[in-house]
Each structure stands twice: as structure tokens, then as C-alpha cells.
Symmetry: C2
Subunit: 472 residues, 2 copies
């Protein structure tokens, strides 16, 4: 296809700006229209998470566009979960038994600014801010925008429109309301919402608690988490039901009740947060939703990418990574030199959707894991065993978490199926006392366990396949 084709991208968030950069590198004429002001010039948070987890799948995309080192410079490694109980005790549960595997806390704004800078280095890439997409005519391949500066509407056309305009995508809404084709669509809200709080740095600018971890205060039906920022602060997030339980977002209405709740449930965190009440009442409570849809494309005219196609809850730290991986996968399809855009979009969706569906479901799994299971003794035993297996057999074993997070060369769906089967195998064998684990196991003893786990995992996968009457 002709490189001089005009590609219109709706949205210059993380996915849109990376896509613009990559398509710019490939030589397309790229125009990006973003609803918000330029975040490099104006301080905007707009209710979105301030920091995000960045890991291997995202980094693969950074390698593709050759900015790995620049991103690394703004990352804070988090090697594990620091789990805090009600009594103020804490222990670190590593994410992997392999030392080089960890996740990172990164500022959404800084990373987005970097991607915008890199994209704009290409003459064939133009980015326009304060232009809100109102709707897309996917039959005519045109988009209607409102210019927030001139207050007037305008229409842009292009050879191809790609919407990376997030969970509330205007183009997806046009697909839904258009009723031109059968559009499968779901939006699923959790009964929990979230609110961002903060642990500020010490007076000398230091971190008030351990820097290199993702802190979790799991309380069964709700939780608090904290991720470090470069300035010594932590962004803290409370995940809590709107309606249920003794304390919930609907009844935390006064400074007294909020303080009482934290004093009772998170006393150690409260000590680090003298600013709690102010944050609590200044910051919005936001919902947690999953969006899936299909098809993502209309013929060869338009395509949904990133959160506009598949918004997920934040519990696996994979939202941004999945959107970045979209660009990597899309780029790989472009390399196939298919005959037209429709073929490209079709091949991309066919290959990709099974994986974005999987990470959506995995992210829900991890909600329960983080708020509840991490405090469960049998789950903790599983994690210890998995760390030992990963440490002793780095090339032979990867936990579900590792498969999802650190194995960027296998898809989310494969990671999910194998990871869930492994978890089921280990949890059942631990419960049935079929695995005897001691503190000082020899490598030979661990090898026996590894083989048991492998066999049981294979059996589970095989039994599921037979139950589904799948042709093998």
C-alpha cells in the first residue's frame, strides 16, 4: 500500500501517540486529533491514574520505536508486592524468582510527553490539540470534530481513520449507534469504584516507605495500593464497593468516618497520610469497567485500537502494556504487505482479539487475587513454591503472573490458559498435601515437584479439551 496515504488518528494518549510515532517511522502521513490540551504545556490529570505499571510487553513496543533507554530513565522498578496486614506487619512477595524480572512504576504524563515529542520529530506527523471527536462516519471515512479553541465544528477525511480515543471512544459509539452492521459490545462495571490518594515525600524528599515495591493492603472485599513516583511520593488508590460492607463509598461522607475507616483498616498507611482527608474529598470516585467489542474495524475504512477496542480494569497492570502491544501486533501485520487495509484490519483483529479478551478476564481475576487471595495462606504457599521453581529452573517454569507479565513472546490467551491450569494444579496438590514443601529443599527435591506440577497441568489442559470436545 502507498506510504503516502493519509492516516487520521483520534486521540493522542499513550496508544495514539505511540501509533503516530510508529506510523510516522513507516512513512505514512499521520494527523492526530486530541481532545485535551497539550499535556506538555498544561498540567492536566483529568481523573486518570497518575502512575502506571510498565512491563515487558510495553517495553517490546518501546524497542520497536527505539526509545527503550529514554523510557527506562523515567521508570522505578518494583520487584514485588509489599503486603501489609492490619497489625502493620509487611512482607515482600516477589513478582518473579528471576532477578531480572520486575515491573516498573512510570508517570502517565511523562511517558505520554516523551511519545508526543518523538512522534513530532517526524515531519509527516502532525498533532492537533483541543479537538474533540464527536462522531465518525465510518462509511465515508470522515470524522466530525469540535474545536475547543474556535468553538466551531469541522470535518476531516482520510484514507484510514484509527480511533485510539479510550474507553469512552466516540468512534465506538458511532459503530454502536450506526446499526449498519452486527456490532457485539459489552461494558461491565465492577460494584467497586476507586479513588486516588497520596503519600507525600518526607521533608527531605525521600520515600516514606519502601520504594521498590507495589504496596498492597488487602482486606478481602476491598484494598488499598500504592505505587512510587520519581519525586518521592506514592500514588495511593483505594478500591472499595460503592454500596456494600460496613464502609463504602456511599457512606464515607464525613472526615470523621473516613479517618475512622483508615484507622481501623489501614493504620500504618494512615500514619503516612496526614493529607488523607483532604485528598479523599478533593478527588473524584471513579468507576471500574471492562469494555469488549467486535468487530473493531469497518471494512478498510476505520479501526479501533487500545482502550477504545478493549478497556480493562487496572488490576494486572496491563492496560497500557496491552495497548502498546496492539501497536506491535499491528506493525507486524503491516509487515505482511497484505493487499489492502481491510485485509490488514481483519488479520490484526483475528490475531489480536483473543488476547485482549484474555487480559480483560485476567485483570478481573487479579482483582480478587490482590484484595483477597494474597492474604490466603494456601495462596502464599503457592507463591513461595513458584518463586523457588522460577529461581531453580528459570528456563523451565513461569508462574501465571510471569507468563502474563514477563513473557512478551507468548500471547495473553496462551498465558491465561496455561497459567490458570498451573494455579489449579498447584492449589489442589497443596490442599491435598500431595506436595511436601520445606524451607530448605534441595534442587533435586524441587525437580520432583516441578515434574508433578507439569504433569498435573498437562492433565488439566487435556481434560478441559476433552470436555469441550475440541479437535486436538
Amino acid at each position: 500500500m502507498n506510504k503516502k496515504q493519509n492516516i487520521l488518528i483520534i486521540g493522542a494518549g499513550l496508544c495514539g501517540s505511540l501509533l503516530a510515532l510508529r506510523l510516522g517511522q513507516r512513512g505514512y502521513n499521520v494527523s492526530v486529533y486530541e481532545m485535551r490540551p497539550d499535556l506538555r504545556k498544561v498540567d492536566i490529570s483529568a481523573g486518570r491514574s497518575i502512575n502506571l505499571a510498565f512491563s515487558n510487553r510495553g517495553n517490546k513496543a518501546m524497542k520497536l520505536v527505539d526509545i527503550e533507554d529514554k523510557v527506562k530513565a523515567i521508570c522505578i522498578p518494583m520487584t514485588g508486592r509489599m503486603i501489609h496486614d492490619k497489625e502493620g506487619n509487611a512482607f515482600l512477595s516477589n513478582y518473579s524468582g528471576r532477578d531480572h524480572e520486575y515491573i516498573n512504576s512510570v508517570s502517565r504524563g511523562e511517558l505520554n510527553a516523551l511519545l508526543l515529542d518523538e512522534a513530532e520529530k517526524h515531519e509527516n506527523v502532525s498533532i492537533y490539540f483541543n479537538k474533540k471527536c464527536k462522531s465518525v462516519n465510518f462509511k465515508k471515512t470522515t470524522a466530525l470534530f469540535k474545536d475547543y479553541e474556535t468553538k466551531s465544528d469541522f470535518v476531516e477525511d482520510a484514507d484510514v481513520i484509527i480511533a485510539t480515543d479510550g474507553a469512552g471512544s466516540a468512534m465506538r459509539k458511532s459503530y454502536y449507534l450506526g446499526k449498519t452492521f452486527l456490532f457485539s459490545f459489552s461494558q461491565d462495571y465492577l460494584t467497586h469504584g476507586y479513588k486516588e490518594l497520596s503519600i507525600l515525600p518526607t521533608e527531605t524528599g525521600d520515600y516514606k516507605t519502601y520504594k521498590n515495591a507495589l504496596h498492597i493492603w488487602p482486606r478481602g472485599t476491598f484494598m488499598l495500593i500504592a505505587l512510587p513516583n520519581l519525586d518521592g511520593s506514592f500514588t495511593v488508590t483505594l478500591f472499595l464497593s460503592y454500596d456494600d460492607g460496613a464502609y463504602n463509598f456511599n457512606n464515607l461522607t464525613t472526615p470523621e468516618i473516613v479517618s475512622e475507616f483508615f484507622q481501623k483498616e489501614f493504620p500504618d498507611a494512615l500514619q503516612l497520610m496526614p493529607n488523607l482527608v483532604k485528598d479523599f474529598f478533593n478527588n473524584p470516585t471513579a468507576p471500574l469497567g471492562t469494555v469488549k467489542c467486535s468487530p473493531w474495524h469497518y471494512k478498510g475504512n476505520t479501526l479501533l485500537m487500545g482502550d477504545s477496542a478493549h478497556a480493562i480494569v487496572p488490576f494486572y497492570g496491563q492496560g497500557m502494556n496491552a495497548s502498546f502491544e496492539d501497536v506491535v501486533e499491528f506493525d507486524a501485520v503491516l509487515d505482511q504487505n497484505l493487499e489492502n487495509w481491510e485485509a490488514v484490519f481483519k488479520a490484526y483483529e483475528k490475531n489480536r482479539k483473543k488476547d485482549t479478551d484474555a487480559i480483560a478476564d485476567l485483570a478481573i481475576d487479579n482483582f480478587h487475587e490482590m484484595k483477597d487471595h494474597v492474604a490466603n495462606p494456601i495462596f502464599q504457599e503457592k507463591r513461595k513454591l513458584e518463586m523457588a521453581l522460577e529461581k531453580s529452573f528459570p528456563d523451565e517454569y513461569s508462574s501465571k503472573y510471569s507468563l502474563v507479565t514477563f513473557n512478551e513472546n507468548i500471547g495473553y490467551r496462551e498465558a491465561m490458559l496455561k497459567g490458570r491450569a498451573q494455579d489449579k494444579a498447584i492449589l489442589n496438590m497443596l490442599t491435598d498435601k500431595e506436595l511436601s514443601i520445606t524451607h530448605d529443599m534441595t534442587k533435586d527435591a524441587l525437580k520432583v515437584i516441578l515434574e508433578k506440577v507439569k504433569t498435573a497441568t498437562q492433565d488439566i489442559l487435556e481434560e478441559d479439551k476433552i470436555a469441550g470436545l475440541k479437535k486436538s
Copy 2:
């Protein structure tokens, strides 16, 4: 709550007319507004299935409103699936090993007419036709209608509005577009559509093929089915992909190709259908979708019931039965004398949604079972074994199909969990040759198998529970 309250029902289809009848019996003032003309006076099909499968859960509702006998008079029993292969061979696979368990073919129109007649016997029930609901103001508990006769719009208010206006519900759309509360919603289309055809009676008014079965021509990726009507005809439905495969709805565009397709795939059916080509091009091709949503109610003002809350694909023959069961469940909540409508709606949804979610998923399972698995030798072996178990141990064993269809006193979700575990247990033991089945097994030998199946089923359920770290 005051019996003299005014209840407005949107839609006088199967669910709405049953609900009107039941609430009329309970003494409420009921007004029903229906978009279509009165089907007792005008012949309308409106693209919906002409006949439907009616079974125990539906019948439980008929008992509740005391019209069981009247419905029985218009039912045609179907004792099993008559499975037709490509060579024209056919065999009957019973739905149950218990003789008194079978499903029924019933005319949608006749059943609906009966329910309307019964509802209108109550002075406190009024039904208005040709009144289309355009939207619902769920905060004010008012509904906007268009009167197709006068062409004018009008607004009705009520103490409570219950929408039984089907898969394309206007009230559900108002929930979605209102953005007043977090509304989880999904519409999922299969890549297959369906088209209704017919096998006409013989010249003497007889059935051209076996009357008391649901006929299936399973072909792996597509299928044909047929259900008997009282007039000697069969309603035939082709389920086929829109896009995929050698023959699909998009390429069956000429009489020659349609005839060629049927000659090749369904030669015995084609012989019974000289009217095939005419039917094929006269009748619409319709999509197959699943709708789920939550919450169903807005405070104590409005409630979705039946297909408007949970539309499912037709493959378990449970769509109508599930909607009728909604009324039974709603009635049971009314018996609890809760303090207000909000408490009633909340209790109803909490109790009911898990089951309607389950039947939606089971119906998708059965799509694959009907078009594909029924022709699979190991699946057929499972069915034969299950028939033998049900026959020899009628009080101890029920297949998944029986649990869903004939066990109206357990919910769909429980039926799904137990039924899927049983299927998995049997299919795996058959595959691993752990069950040795012969044609002439003694009851003692079957008892051994029964115990094996029970134990393996329990193990599967227990292992799943442990894998989910569920509190038992």
C-alpha cells in the same frame, strides 16, 4: 404494598401477557401497552419464531396461573432429537431416560393469544395495542408512547413500570443512554444467522416425517432443525454463518446455489421441501444475539423482565421458559411482603440474575452441541450412557440436559455447574477407557458406573472450588 397500585407493563408478548395475568390475579391495576396489533385479530409473524420449545420451567408458570391444561391442549410432545446424517440415515436420541420427561413444540401465536385472553378476563387488567414505547423516564416513572392509530405521542405514568418489551427493549435503551447510574450491558452476536423455512403437510394433512421429535441435521459448522406444528407442517430453521465456509448466507444468492447446497448437505430434507427456494428468498435472515445487563431495576420505579433483561440464543429451547420462570420468581418475591418496590426488585434481581446468566451461556454451549457434537461418537456414547443411568436410576441421575430442562426446582446456575462437571467427568472417563459400557449391562454394573460418575463429578466441582480459592 397497596394492591390498588397502578402497574404499567410495556409489551404484551409471552412474558408481558403472563405477567399481566399473574398481577391481575394478585389484584393490581395493570395496564399493558403493546407495539403490535392484537395478534388474535391480525395475522402477524414479524420475523419471530413461529413455534417454540415448551418444557417444565414454563409449565411451572402455567400451573401458577392455573392454565396448565389449556396449554397442554396446544402442545406437541417431542421425546428426543431425530438426528439426520448426510446419507439420509436417521436415529432418535431421547432427551431423557425417564418416559415422562419430554419437551413440547408450541405455537408462539396460539400461546400468546391464550395468555391475552386469560389476562383480559380480569377487570383490573387492560391491554392496549398499536402503542409503541419510545422511551422511559425512569426517574419520573413515566413512559412515552407513539400511538400507531392516531399517529400522536402520549405519556403514561404509573406507580411502577415493568418492561417486557423484548431483546430490543426501549426501556433498556433509556437506561443505557441515560447515564444516570452505572449500567453494565452486553450484546453479543454469533457469526451465524438463521432463516425459517417449512415442511408443508401431505395432501391429506399428515406429517411428512416423524412428528414427535425435534429434527436435527448437524453438519459441524452449520445445521438445519425442524419442529412440528399442529397443522401437520414443520417449521424448519437453517442456522448458517453469514461469511464463513463454502456456503454461507452472503453467497447463497441464487435458486441454483441454494438448491445445490441443500442437495449436497440435506438431501433427505430437500425431498420434503419442494417449496424450499420460495421460502428461502421470501423469508428474512435474522441475527442471533445474547443480551445481558445489570441492574435490571431503577430504584423502586422500573424493572426489566424477560428478553428485555436477558435475551438468549434459541439452542436450549429455554428462551420462553426462562421468561415464564421470571414471572414465577417475581411472584415468589411478592409473597415475601417486602417493605417497598425497591426491595422487591432488588431481591428479585439478586436471586434471578445468576440463573439467567447461566442459561445464556448454556444456550451458546448447546449451539455447538447441536450443530457438531451430536454427530461425535464419544458424545453419542455419553448420551447413551446417560439414558441408561436415567432409566435405571431415575431418582439418582439427571444429565445436564435433564437438569436444565426437566428439573424446574433447581436454578439454571446450579444445573449448569453440576451438568458441566458431569459431562466433563463422563467424556474424560470414556476417552480414557475408564468406563466399560456394553449393550446389555446389568443394573449392578450400571450402578458401579453411576458411582464412578458421581465421584468424578464431585472431584471436579471440588477442584474448581479450590482453584477459585472459594470459601466452602
